[in-house]
Amino acid sequence: MPITLEEVGAVVTIKRIAGNDEAKSHLADLGFVVGSTVTIINKLGESVILQVHESRVALSESMARRILI
């Protein structure tokens, strides 16, 4: 399911990144690849703040929905 549906505080593992374009590779550059452990720090509407490795990354809805867990 998309990571946007998960609750704040949950620790999840990425199963798949939907789509196949430059945005996907940018997500990968930031550390969002299949197998990464991600913590959901906060949600603001559909936007989310995620922790991946040691960094916090804020993502808009359209981007966050592509991260499937």
Partner: protein, 837 residues
């Protein structure tokens, strides 16, 4: 021989701090060619022949952001002698991802692991020897903030540049290596050996920019494509993802071997702050509070005082040192003003008249036996509005003692005042410690040299005034930049963008566009400069173009003049001006987003939120000074030249067949007036196609408050004062149209200079100015035509044209779909981004 070192690293890895620590004051700030990305280089402290090139903060060498394109292009094409790669030790996984790509370039790399002090404090351990072995390059421990280890890091980089090679130690899985080997053999084997691997990997990833650069024959391409597809099939993923995943796997294996983490993940201070600051309910109110503080300090508290000092003091008549004597002078000046106004109510006199004689005037004044109450017209210096005020003959009744419309000095007191003090205006130089401004000093010097009038004019009204216009904004700008630099460095700016992005995204702007617009209500120049904090180039350009629509401080007197002269002082005019400005920003945002220049899907919001931390004083001050200085340098020339041009055309003209210099009130005979007459027809459809209004609009380009002064000269002289003449020349409709045009059209030269500085491209600067003027024209045109039509004075052709313009705008706003064309497609960087797909 000079050695070129490139400083590369992730955003928020402490790169700027390290760069400042290494170069000190030997820095050169500019822009990368053709783009709005800042370029910095500097000489290494203590080494005259070592140049450090600071690259923008990047996450990888894949060309997603403009910064990544710029950095990659530099590394590939300019090939520095060595790369100093700064790595955030507290976030090794993500940071090493870039490192694994840098070591493949075939350029010697030295890794500087930053934040070692924090790592030690946390009780964590990094085995740098092991890390060095695993990466195939030298690893140095540093703390950029404390300055430890940075010299050693630089020395290692110099060393590496001279005699070391970096050989990447990581290998990809069998199928990938197999394909890469084939590519090396088929395509890149003629390249220098150390560069082969990087190019081969990029070909494997089908990096479109590299494919284009290498210009590979279709036959060879087909050949290697088979190998790539074979690897993809075997590993069940696309080639780019395979490489990405394998890099992360490799990094994970390195970290296992050399990083020992003691601390478990508990809630850090940053988390606690973020819980509040990015909270659904508290986020916006906190943001409003912070912005109010920034605005208040920059624009009201410190800003106004410093700008007034620079404009009216340093580049005006002069100022009282540290304000000593200011109060006494103000009191004296007010008393003089009151006395003059009170006396004027009963006895008309003009001290500048040659026939004026103080003694006769006093004795004449004493003879006046007036009514108990009279009135006098007091002219406001800023807006030229004339207010009727009451004056009492010998006693102010208690009921009028606090009345604002009563001069708090009686006629009899005024006569006594003049008898005692004479008619001379109080001289500020007689109070406290008076420091004369630049113009009086220069003027005195020129008088001594017996300079010709035209030369005096050129130097004083052209050059000194022009320089003043540039420097006058600097103090306020520095204060603002200081605050913005702090907000950026401490990490809050990234949160602002996140909180506001959802709202601004709808108008085609970024979450950070709010700040330039807010600052723009004070002054458009720092407003435009504040666009620097917006990451996305398209959003940045859009914000630069629309920020000056909001009425700035200098437009306020002009708005007040129009409201006072044409609309009977209605307060709704000022309010409507701000709404007009905001509407113009929103409408333009939506419309421009649908044009080819800004086409493309709005970039999804992805942004790292760095941990909160206290920035160092040095970094904040440096950032402030860099921006201020770059404004002076880059915007200064254009402002100066334009000011001189307008000065020349407004003070020279042909009078009675001979070309000569004009006095201030002869502007109607100037070249500018002629020019205004020539182009006034352009504004005829707007209902104010006369040369006076045209000339006023042109002088408004020097500084918007000049419109008031010019209107004062051009419409003065008639019966009933300036306001009366203006109200005769404009109807409500054309008056508002004139207001709207001047609010929305090209800003003053200083702001245009700032736009040019920020756009870093002549084409975009002209596009911005052209759009602003065009938009202003269309809006003013619609106001005039619709206004005239509904007041029964319309003309059918104009009305029809206005309807067409309105329908087109509505079409652009609501019906036209966002264009799906890939990207801007107008410079190399953007092209590269599109090609990378």
């Amino acid at each position: 021989m000079t050695i070129k070192l490139a400083l590369a690293g992730n955003p928020n890895s402490g790169k700027t701090t390290l760069f400042n620590g290494l170069t000190g004051n030997n820095q050169f700030v500019g822009n990368w060619p053709g783009v709005t990305v800042e370029k910095k280089d500097g000489k290494l402290k203590g080494h005259k022949d070592v140049i450090i090139q600071d690259l923008p903060g990047i996450y990888s060498l894949s060309p997603y952001t403009l910064e990544e394109v710029v950095a990659r292009t530099y590394l590939i094409e300019d090939r520095p002698d060595a790369i100093l790669n700064i790595v955030d030790g507290t976030n090794l996984e993500r940071n090493l991802y870039l490192t694994t790509q840098l070591v493949e370039l075939g350029i010697p790399v030295v890794v500087a692991v930053n934040m070692m002090d924090i790592i030690r404090k946390n009780g964590d351990k990094i085995n740098t020897e092991e890390l060095s072995r695993a990466l195939g390059c030298k690893v140095v421990e540093i703390s950029a903030l404390k300055g430890t280890g940075i010299k050693e890091a630089a020395e290692e980089a110099i060393n590496a540049a001279k005699n070391m090679k970096t050989v990447p130690q990581h290998t990809f899985s069998g199928p990938v290596e197999h394909a890469i080997a084939h590519i090396e053999e088929a395509i890149v084997h003629e390249m220098p050996e150390e560069q082969q691997r990087w190019y081969a990997i990029k070909v494997f990833e089908r990096d479109s920019k590299v494919l284009k650069q290498l210009n590979i024959s279709q036959e060879k391409l087909n050949h290697v494509e088979k190998d790539i597809q074979a690897a993809e099939k075997e590993l069940d993923d696309d080639s780019e993802s395979i490489i990405t995943n394998e890099r992360y796997n490799y990094i994970a294996s390195i970290i296992k071997g050399c990083y020992k983490r003691k601390r478990t993940n508990n809630l850090s201070t940053s988390d606690k702050i973020d819980k509040v600051v990015t909270n659904r309910w508290l986020g916006l109110p906190i943001f409003v509070l912070v912005m109010y503080l920034v605005y208040w300090i920059a624009m009201v508290g410190v800003g106004t005082a410093s700008t007034d000092w620079a404009n009216d003091g340093l580049f005006g008549d002069g100022y009282h040192l540290f304000g000593m004597g200011s109060k006494a002078y103000e009191a004296a000046s007010e008393e003089y003003g009151n006395a003059t106004n009170a006396a004027m109510a009963y006895y008309d006199f003009d001290i500048e008249d040659e026939k004026f004689d103080a003694k006769t005037a006093i004795s004449d004044m004493k003879k006046v036996q007036g009514p108990l109450k009279s009135t006098v017209g007091v002219t406001d210096e800023e807006t030229l509005a004339v207010d009727k005020k009451n004056v009492y003959y010998d006693k102010i009744p208690d009921s009028a003692k606090k009345d604002e419309n009563t001069i708090q000095m009686t006629y009899m007191e005024a006569v006594k005042y003049f008898e005692k003090n004479g008619f001379e205006e109080p001289d500020p130089a007689n109070y406290g410690t008076w420091v004369p401004g630049v113009p009086p000093i220069v003027e005195a010097g020129l008088d001594k040299l017996h300079a010709a009038d035209w030369l005096k004019g050129l130097i004083l009204d052209g050059i000194v005034a022009g320089v003043g216009a540039v420097l006058g904004f600097v103090p306020q700008m520095l204060v603002l930049f200081l605050l913005l630099a702090f907000l950026e460095a401490c990490g809050y700016m990234a949160r602002i963008a996140f909180v506001l992005d959802r709202i601004f995204r709808k108008f085609g702007l970024s979450g950070k566009s709010f700040i330039p617009v807010l600052v723009g209500t004070g002054c458009g120049v720092p407003g435009v400069m504040a666009c620097r904090t917006i990451e996305n180039e398209r959003d940045r350009r859009m914000t630069i173009m629309t920020t000056t629509f909001i009425p700035c401080g200098a437009k306020v007197p002009f708005i007040a003049m129009v409201a006072g002269a044409i609309f009977g002082g209605s307060p709704h005019i000022a309010t409507s001006a701000y709404f007009l400005g905001m509407a113009a920003i929103i409408v333009s945002g939506v419309m421009l987003k649908k044009t080819k220049m800004f086409a493309g899907k709005p970039a999804p919001f992805v942004m790292e939120l760095p941990p909160y931390h206290w920035p160092t004083v040095g970094n904040v001050l440096r950032s402030m000074w860099e921006r201020g200085w770059s404004f002076i340098k880059k915007a200064g020339t254009i402002i100066l030249l334009s000011t001189i041009f307008v000065w020349f055309t407004s003070f020279f003209g042909v009078v009675d067949g001979s070309f000569r210099m004009l006095a201030e009130d002869e502007i109607n005979m100037s070249l500018l007036a002629k020019l205004g007459g020539l182009i006034a027809w352009i504004f005829a459809p707007l209902g104010w196609g006369n040369w006076q209004a045209t000339v006023a609009s042109i002088t408004g380009l020097v500084a918007k408050e000049n419109i008031v002064g010019t209107m004062g000269i051009l419409y003065g002289g008639g019966d009933g004062g300036v306001y009366h003449s203006i109200s005769q020349a404009f109807t409500h409709v054309t008056g508002y149209s004139f207001l709207a045009f001047n609010l929305l059209c090209a800003p003053c030269f200083a702001a245009i200079g700032a736009i040019k500085r920020e756009m870093n491209s002549a084409k975009w600067t002209w596009f911005a100015i052209g759009y602003q003027c065009g938009f202003a024209y269309v809006i003013a045109f619609m106001i005039t035509q619709f206004g005239n039509f509904f007041t029964g004075k319309g003309n059918i052709i104009g009305f029809a044209a206005a309807v067409i313009a309105l329908v087109y705008m509505i079409y652009m706003l609501f019906i036209k779909k966002y264009s799906d064309a890939n990207e801007l497609g107008d410079d190399f960087a953007i092209n590269a981004r599109a090609e990378a797909k």
